[in-house]
């Protein structure tokens, strides 16, 4: 199966990010005063340490964990908003549908990064706000896709049969429409996660995302970029990890979508 390779790689990364920090002697924020700026493959630090002596392997694993957690949470927020909005528009139809979809079009046109940055500046930085903000931005595609599916499902004869069978509209939506959306929604959920990873990394890179000493892949890439001339591995390791995650998620999402036929 062509889905298997990207999913297996993702599972491996996830496992490392979850279990890895527990197996390491160093915490992500612990400073090893005896080994500041240690090179890779030094006796106590496999990937060396950063400019204040924190173990880079521990920081990379924890950063991956934070990035993925924020991305999954934000994608779930996007899923909930997108499915609710899209399903409501598609099911109600008519002018309501037109109006709701024009709202989506209008939101598409806004410069979202700017809105998220404004939110961060106004309300201060917190992980909660980061993923709520990103989730509130990334639901638009989901809403469009779900609306299209609902429009198609609504015309399927089994919906008419359910109505003739006396099922109330809420029962039809819950029993026939939403379960048949699950596959396509999962595919787009997988496609939303990498977008959120990008946004989160970008915000962190700008210093607006996760706060020190907690870290994320974006922060690590930024720190690495600051020292790329003396310690290129500090940029390469989190950078490559980020690219791998993005490529795997996108491939898995697209292949799943093609298989479902959305």
């Amino acid at each position: 199966m062509r889905l298997r390779l990207p999913l297996a790689l993702l599972a491996l990364i996830l496992l490392a990010a979850l279990a890895g920090p527990m197996l390491l002697p160093w915490r992500y924020d612990a400073i090893d005063w005896d080994a500041v700026r240690a090179p890779p493959f030094s006796p106590r630090h496999l990937l060396g340490t950063d400019s204040v002596g924190r173990d880079l392997l521990a920081r990379t694993l924890v950063g991956t964990r934070v990035t993925l957690a924020v991305a999954v949470a934000a994608a779930l927020v996007a899923l909930v908003i997108g499915v609710t909005w899209g399903a409501a528009a598609g099911w109600i139809g008519g002018r309501t549908d037109e109006a709701m979809m024009r709202v989506v079009d209008a939101l598409y046109a806004l410069p979202f990064m700017f809105v998220v940055i404004l939110l961060m500046v106004l309300f201060g930085r917190s992980i909660l706000l980061v993923f709520l903000g990103i989730g509130a931005v990334e639901w638009l595609t989901m809403a469009r896709v779900v609306r299209g599916q609902v429009l198609a499902l609504r015309e399927r004869p089994f919906v008419a049969a359910a109505e003739a069978a006396g099922a109330q509209p809420a029962r039809i939506v819950a029993g026939h429409i939403l379960p048949n959306l699950a596959g396509i929604a999962l595919a787009y959920l997988l496609l939303t996660v990498p977008q959120v990873v990008m946004v989160e990394s970008f915000l962190s890179f700008l210093g607006l995302g996760v706060q020190e000493p907690l870290t994320s892949l974006g922060i690590l890439v930024k720190d690495g970029a600051d020292e790329m001339d003396i310690a290129p591995h500090a940029l390469l390791v989190p950078g490559l990890l980020l690219v791998t995650i993005l490529v795997c998620l996108t491939l898995a999402g697209e292949r799943l979508r093609d298989r479902i036929g959305g």
Binding site: R156, P157, A161, A162, A164, A165, G166, P179, N180
Partner: protein, 516 residues
């Protein structure tokens, strides 16, 4: 002169034979029809020798004396471009929506190896297949054309390079009866005027009887029977052919004996349905205008008409599962509330069965839950045990055993899925079934068995039917009365036999002529 000849032709999927030991030949200007149920191998027999399927063909197939079997892809393409044309089933989806008719026709021409054709030549090609205002059509896009016109364009594309053989794989089965007749007449004209040999795959026995010279009956990949069309249809030698013929109702069948209907159960008056045009634009399309009908207990009424005549819309409005602008529906004299306010007690009397059996079952539900759905809502007094018993009873009545209860729609054949849909419709004990083209998506043998099942339900349960169909012969087999719709209005109404023997309205005459 022999155009195409097959000898000991076999088609294999891997090592599994799908078709074996087929032999036939087609002369210039002749039409050979391949008939058989689904899975009988009739399509692959026609397409595999030309390399149009991923399957492997063996034996011998010669087009204009040239062997096709075992030739490489390039050689087959050259042979197809020179001597063979192909027409397929789906005229609605076979044209590219964003290219004009002229552009697609020109492409077909160039694919056959000719230089870019003149506009005059394109116009002539469309006129050759009987398209009116051909010059203007060249610049139109496929959505402006009706299904029949699109099939004509596809035929024009298939014969633009003057092939000797035209392979037509169910060219009319997606079209309604009137259009079927027109398309078949066009193919016959091309045969007679231009000496085109026609290899026709069909399950429409009526048109085969009219247009084919010889018939080959296939069953499970083998020739069951072959011979002159009139002889095979009049005196079938094999049981399989007899079953095929018996399954297909024809207008020449003796009149059925139907039970006498009782008092009026449902009466609809002044039903009008219109659809708003898409987007913010104003205006509406009137789909049904001031339609009225009544059905008695145990009576079967057919609603016939071409595609787009509004018959499904009317039936759905009456059953309160579709929109209606105005009009009243009386159930045993008492008016039914509008769609949104129908109560379970009223829904129980009317249940629908739809055309596409697979789409009418939720793919995520088990058969048991599907059949139980109306019971859950319409017979809430039944407990889980009683409900389960009713489900099994309903499945038994449609000749599906208990074993089917746990299956999902994806594992059912078309005929089984339609039986499940019928079980769902009868589970709550309705008095009227709405049959919306309930047999027209099924293979002919299966359709025949479903018709027989409906006949039995009509007898044993005293069910009334409102049967929507474009097939007059099927309507006549079950129905007392026929209502003909055209352009959103009911234009003629009367006893089935009178409508068929003495049609009055032009739309009815067209339908009868096309079905005969």
């Amino acid at each position: 002169m022999t155009v195409y000849a097959a000898e000991r032709l076999g088609v294999f999927a891997g090592e599994t034979p799908l078709v074996r030991d087929i032999g036939f030949s087609i002369e210039r200007g002749e039409c050979l029809a391949l008939i058989g149920g689904s899975g009988s191998g009739k399509s692959v027999t026609c397409l595999a020798p030309f390399g149009l399927t991923p399957l492997r063909a063996a034996g011998s197939a010669r087009l204009m004396g040239e062997e096709l079997i075992g030739r490489p892809e390039r050689a087959l393409r050259a042979i197809r471009a020179r001597d063979a044309g192909f027409v397929f089933q789906q005229p609605l989806t076979a044209l590219t929506p964003h290219l004009s008719i002229g552009a697609q026709l020109a492409e077909a021409w160039m694919q056959a190896g000719a230089p870019r054709p003149e506009r005059g030549a394109l116009t002539a090609a469309l006129e050759r297949v009987g398209i009116d205002r051909a010059e203007e059509r060249l610049d139109q896009f496929p959505h402006r054309l009706s299904g029949g016109q699109r099939q004509r364009v596809l035929i024009a594309m298939a014969i633009v390079h003057r092939p000797k053989l035209l392979v037509a794989d169910e060219p009319t089965s997606a079209l309604d009866a009137t259009l079927r007749g027109e398309v078949m007449a066009l193919l016959s004209r091309l045969r007679h005027e231009e000496g085109l040999a026609l290899l026709l795959v069909s399950h429409d026995l009526a048109s085969v009887a009219d247009h084919a010279d010889r018939i080959l009956v296939l069953n499970q990949g083998r020739i069951e029977e072959s011979g002159a069309a009139s002889a095979v249809l009049a005196h079938p030698a094999s049981d399989y052919t007899r079953a095929l013929l018996a399954a297909t109702p024809r207008l020449t069948d003796p009149a059925p004996t139907l039970q006498d209907p009782g008092g009026t159960v449902i009466e609809a008056r002044d039903i009008t349905v219109s659809f708003r045009r898409a987007g913010w634009r104003r205006g509406a399309v009137v789909a049904v205008a001031d339609a009225a009908l009544s059905i008695a207990a145990g009576e079967a009424v057919a609603l016939v008409g071409g595609s787009g005549s509004g018959k499904s819309t009317l039936a759905r409005a009456i059953a309160r599962i579709g929109p209606a602008d105005r009009g009243t529906v009386l159930w045993r004299g008492a008016p039914l509330p509008p769609r949104g306010r129908m109560t379970a007690a009223l829904r129980r009397f009317m249940q629908p069965v739809f055309q596409d059996p697979v789409a009418s079952l939720d793919p995520r539900w088990r058969v048991e839950d599907i059949v139980a759905e109306p019971l859950r809502h319409l017979r809430p007094e039944l407990g889980p045990a009683a409900r389960h018993a009713r489900v099994l009873e309903a499945l038994d009545e449609v000749e599906l055993g208990e074993a089917y209860a746990g299956r999902r729609p994806a594992s059912l054949s078309g005929g089984q899925a339609q039986r499940v849909a019928i079980a769902r419709a009868i589970a709550s004990g309705p008095e009227l079934l709405l049959l919306d083209e309930a047999t027209s998506a099924l293979d002919m043998l299966v359709a025949g068995r479903v018709l027989a099942l409906l006949e039995r339900l009509q007898r044993t349960r005293g069910l009334a039917f409102l049967m929507i169909s474009h097939d007059l012969a099927a309507a006549r087999r079950l129905c007392h009365r026929i209502l003909v719709m055209d352009g959103g209005r009911i234009v003629e109404e009367g006893p089935a036999d009178r409508i068929i023997s003495a049609p009055r309205h032009p739309a009815t005459r067209r339908l009868v002529a096309a079905s005969a």
